[in-house]
Structure formats: structure tokens, C-alpha cells
């Protein structure tokens, strides 16, 4: 995705959601042809014995895109982030201890997985119908609800999308190319949009009164505010945007090669166990995730094309 150099990582995943169709479609086709030239990875029923093979070697290769806080290499040179940490815990429980990171462009993750360059994608990748045509997903381990960054005290009383209506002179900051400006379009509120080139200037914009709010995922806003703790701003309660009666999810999970259902199901079982025991939240909390990001959505629900 080097085509969008000037957009910060967390905003980039915003429009990835919107643009999933193009990416998954185009790159999936590439992945298909690459896979043919390699050993057949999906012949046996349910993906065969990949899990057993991983257990024997004790190694799993993990594809990730360097993108904080979802999956990134930290200052000590180790792979960490929300997705890798959860995957590490689950594979440990499955009896695979050695975690081999494989850095990839975000857009190359799906073809790379299909070509057998790694065994699982742990990048917090949003589960979208077009991607589900290329690979299979675990159930999501988070859902990213939206929120508003507002001056402390929330003078405009913004809580949900409905609050944006009937507020004369309201200016809603969005990021250039991000999915939120699409939401405003669909609601017929595009006149309210003030488009900032990146998160940092969005925050400055709210501080300077250039916009009344910055509209982004709660995760990104918390992350941003964490870097500007002095700013007299606050993040509102996260909410799932509803447009024309349809809830808009941004839920991320782990990708497996199509056909590897046995590995995926074993992974899912452990993931559900982590959710039940609230261990999941413990693992992802250091990366800015909260109760609001926890979800019971399933991959099946998210793979179904929107009506």
C-alpha cells in the first residue's frame, strides 16, 4: 500500500475497510496463480495435518504488516501488537511455541498467505465479504467502534451520528480518504466535513476550533490522545455507526488459507476460551483496546455481503 504514503497507519486501515473490494479482488488473483506453482497446500480434508505439522516443528510463520497498534516490531526488534500477542497466546495453547514473524505489505498479506509464505495473518485485518472470498477468517477478536474527539466537557453533546443533525454550524473533522467521510456522505451530511490530512492536524484542528470534533475509530483516537495527554480534549463513548438501519462494523480477525478449517476451528476454540475468561481483554488492553472493542460477532456474520 505504498501508494498512500502520507496517511498515517491507523487512518490507512480506515479506508482499507472501504476499499477491501479492490484489494482483495486484485491481489487474490495474483495469489491464486502463485499458489499453483507451489506444493498443493489444501488437498486433504479440512486442510489436512497442518496443525500437527506445526506442532512437530514447534514453529508457526505469522504474516503481519508493520502497523501499530495492530501488529508491529517494537524497539527491541520483537513482533508485538494486538493481533500477534493474541495469536502467540493461542498458538502456545495449541502447542506451538516458536513464533516466526514474516513482515509484509498490508496488501500482500492475502496473496502471501495463499502462496504459503506464512501460516496465519495476524494483522488485525478487518473481515470483509470480498476478503472472505480469498481466505477464511477466525472469528473477530475485536470490533472497532467509532467515537468523537471533542473538547473536554463535550460542549456540542455529541454521542452518536444522530447528534450531528440539526446542529447549525457544526464542523466534523474527518481524515482525507477515510471511511468516516463516506459515512457523512451517506447520511447527507457531507457539508459538515472538514478534511484533515492526518490525525495530528485533526487534533490541532479541534484544539484551534477549526472543527468541533474529529470523527474516527475509538482505538485511533485513544492512541492519538495518548500522545497528546496535555490536550484539553476527550474521546466520547464508542458507538457502532448505524446507516440506513445497518450497523457498520470494523471487526478484525486472523486469516487462514482457504480449506485450513481444522486449524482455524482449533484456533477459534482457543479464542472463544480467551473471550470467556476475559484473558483476551487483558492481552490487548496495553494496545489501547477496551471493553468497547470486545465483540461476539462471528466471521460468518461479517463475511455475508451487506443487504
Amino acid at each position: 500500500m505504498s501508494e498512500v504514503p502520507s496517511v498515517s497507519p491507523s487512518s490507512r486501515r480506515q479506508f482499507l475497510r472501504a476499499a477491501g473490494v479492490t484489494v482483495a479482488g486484485a491481489l487474490g488473483a495474483v495469489g491464486l496463480t502463485t499458489a499453483c506453482s507451489r506444493i498443493d497446500l489444501t488437498a486433504a480434508e479440512g486442510g489436512g495435518d497442518l496443525l500437527e505439522r506445526l506442532r512437530v516443528t514447534g514453529q508457526v510463520k505469522v504474516g503481519f504488516a508493520n502497523e501499530a497498534p495492530y501488529g508491529f516490531i517494537n524497539r527491541d526488534g520483537e513482533l508485538t501488537g494486538e493481533a500477534p500477542e493474541v495469536a502467540k497466546e493461542i498458538f502456545r495453547r495449541l502447542g506451538v511455541d516458536d513464533f516466526v514473524p514474516a513482515l509484509s505489505d498490508f496488501g500482500s498479506l492475502i496473496p502471501g498467505l495463499r502462496a504459503g509464505l506464512f501460516d496465519v495473518i495476524a494483522a488485525g485485518m478487518y473481515i470483509t465479504p470480498p476478503r472472505c472470498e480469498q481466505i477464511i477468517f477466525s472469528d473477530p477478536d475485536y470490533n472497532a467502534p467509532e467515537a468523537f474527539l471533542v473538547p473536554r466537557g463535550n460542549p456540542r453533546g455529541l454521542r452518536t451520528l444522530d447528534d450531528l443533525r440539526a446542529q447549525p454550524g457544526l464542523r466534523v473533522g474527518v481524515l482525507l480518504g477515510a471511511v468516516e467521510s463516506g459515512y457523512l456522505d451517506k447520511l447527507g451530511l457531507s457539508d459538515l466535513a472538514v478534511t484533515f490530512p492526518d490525525q495530528a492536524s485533526g487534533i490541532d484542528g479541534v484544539l484551534a476550533g477549526r472543527a468541533d470534533t474529529l470523527f474516527l475509530t475509538a482505538i485511533s483516537l485513544r492512541d492519538a490522545l495518548g500522545r497528546r495527554p496535555d490536550a484539553p480534549l476527550e474521546v466520547t463513548e464508542p458507538f457502532v455507526p448505524v446507516i440506513d438501519g445497518v450497523e457498520q462494523y470494523g471487526a478484525g480477525g486472523y486469516g487462514f488459507r482457504p480449506g485450513e478449517t481444522r486449524l482455524r476451528d482449533a484456533f477459534n476454540a482457543e479464542l472463544h476460551e480467551l473471550k470467556r475468561s476475559s484473558r483476551l481483554l487483558e492481552i490487548v488492553r496495553p494496545f489501547g483496546f477496551t471493553e468497547a472493542e470486545m465483540t461476539d460477532l462471528t466471521a460468518d456474520q461479517l463475511c455475508r455481503p451487506a443487504a
Binding site: 501508494e3 476499499a19 477515510a178 463516506g182 478534511t195 484533515f196 492536524s201 484542528g205 484551534a208 476550533g209
Partner: protein, 220 residues
């Protein structure tokens, strides 16, 4: 890379909106640059050091800092002390003031280029200071710098994408936005390139006309 004509066609209306914004910012900014530049040039020739010096400092300061930094201060910092212009007005002022420092140097060169004999003649005729400037010096100084001044309108036009930083969505930022939405950059970038080229060529052509019309020093 294949060129998708349909995607290209669909992006035209939004791109044209963006180009209109770029044009507005350029026209407004250029007017400011033309007038303010002359003011700077004249003030820098003031015989009062307390006028001359501060103006020189301001001009050099603005000329030696990036436009982007100035836009940032105009847009994000001025409102915190109660001065707030709309994003487009802020952009036009930013461009205008920045380019005024360049045009002031152009005017200065034009004024310096007027032969000393003209000054002496004005003195000999006992013309007032005001009349010396308006009737003798400027009518000779300005026409010779018209080509140089016209250059800056095109340079300024191509600087308008920097206004993205202050939420003004001109052509190029609309193209970037379209690319981010559709993951197709080829079509919007090609089109916006053609639009900039076309408009810059038209500006150059207009400048040529202005030059031919006013760019000759009349025999005094």
C-alpha cells in the same frame, strides 16, 4: 496498469470542483501578492530606518520560511488568539503574503532599473515625492517586471496543493482522496495533471497578453 475510462469519467466532477478551489485561491492570493509586494518594495525604500528595517525583517523572515509552516500558523495558531479566517481565505492570505515577499524583490529590481537621470529630472522639475513615484518611476519600473511577475502566478497555482494541510481540498487533494477511496490512483492523478497543465497554459497565455499590452515602457 490499465486505464479505467469509466473511473476516470466518474471522478471528473469532483476534480473540477477541486480545481475551482485552486483557481480561487490563486486569483485571490495573486492579487494580495501584487499589491502587498509593491507596498513592501516601497516601504523598504523609505528614508525612515524605523519603517525600512522592520519591513526588511518581516520580508526576509517570510521569504526564508516554508509556506507550509506559515499556513500552519495562520490556520491553527491565529484562531487561538481570536483571529479566524475561513480555510480558503487563510490559504489565499498565506499564498499572497508568501509570494508578496518574492514580488517585492521583483518590484525592487524594476525600480532599481529606472535610470538615475529620471530621479534627477523629477527633482529638477520640482515634482513632489508622490508625483515622482506615480508619474515617473513606477510607470517605468512596473512594465519591465511584468514577465517576472506573471511567472509567480503559475508558481503560486502549483503551490495550492499545500493548502491540503489546512483542510482546503483543491484538485490534487481531491485526487488523493479519490485514490484512497477506490484504490485507483492512475486515473485521478492523470486527470488532475492534465487539468493543472491546461489551466497553467491558459494562465501563461493570459500573462503573455497582459505583457504585450502593458509590458512596454512608454517613451517618457
Amino acid at each position: 496498469m490499465n486505464f479505467d475510462w469509466r473511473a476516470a469519467w466518474d471522478s471528473v466532477p469532483r476534480l473540477l470542483d477541486g480545481m475551482l478551489v485552486a483557481l480561487q485561491a490563486t486569483v485571490l492570493g495573486y492579487l494580495i501578492a501584487l499589491v502587498l509586494g509593491l507596498v513592501f518594495a516601497l516601504l523598504r525604500r523609505s528614508q525612515q530606518p524605523w519603517v525600512r528595517m522592520p519591513v526588511a525583517v518581516v520580508v526576509e523572515f517570510i521569504r526564508s520560511t516554508p509556506l507550509l509552516v506559515q499556513l500552519f500558523f495562520l490556520f491553527f495558531v491565529l484562531p487561538t488568539i481570536g483571529i479566524e479566517f475561513s480555510p480558503l481565505a487563510t490559504g489565499a492570505i498565506g499564498l499572497g503574503v508568501h509570494y508578496a515577499t518574492y514580488t517585492s524583490e521583483v518590484y525592487r529590481a524594476g525600480i532599481d532599473g529606472v535610470p538615475p537621470g529620471q530621479w534627477e529630472a523629477a527633482t529638477a522639475l520640482n515634482l513632489s515625492r508622490r508625483r515622482t513615484w506615480t508619474a515617473v518611476i513606477l510607470p517605468q519600473a512596473v512594465p519591465r517586471v511584468v514577465p517576472a511577475l506573471a511567472n509567480y502566478v503559475i508558481a503560486m497555482f502549483k503551490d495550492t496543493p499545500q493548502l491540503t494541510a489546512i483542510t482546503v481540498l483543491e484538485g490534487l487533494s481531491v485526487a488523493r482522496s479519490l485514490g484512497a477511496e477506490t484504490f485507483r490512483y492512475l486515473e485521478p492523478f492523470t486527470l488532475v495533471g492534465i487539468m493543472y497543465l491546461t489551466m497553467a497554459l491558459v494562465m501563461a497565455w493570459l500573462a503573455r497578453i497582459v505583457e504585450r499590452r502593458f509590458g512596454r515602457v512608454r517613451a517618457v
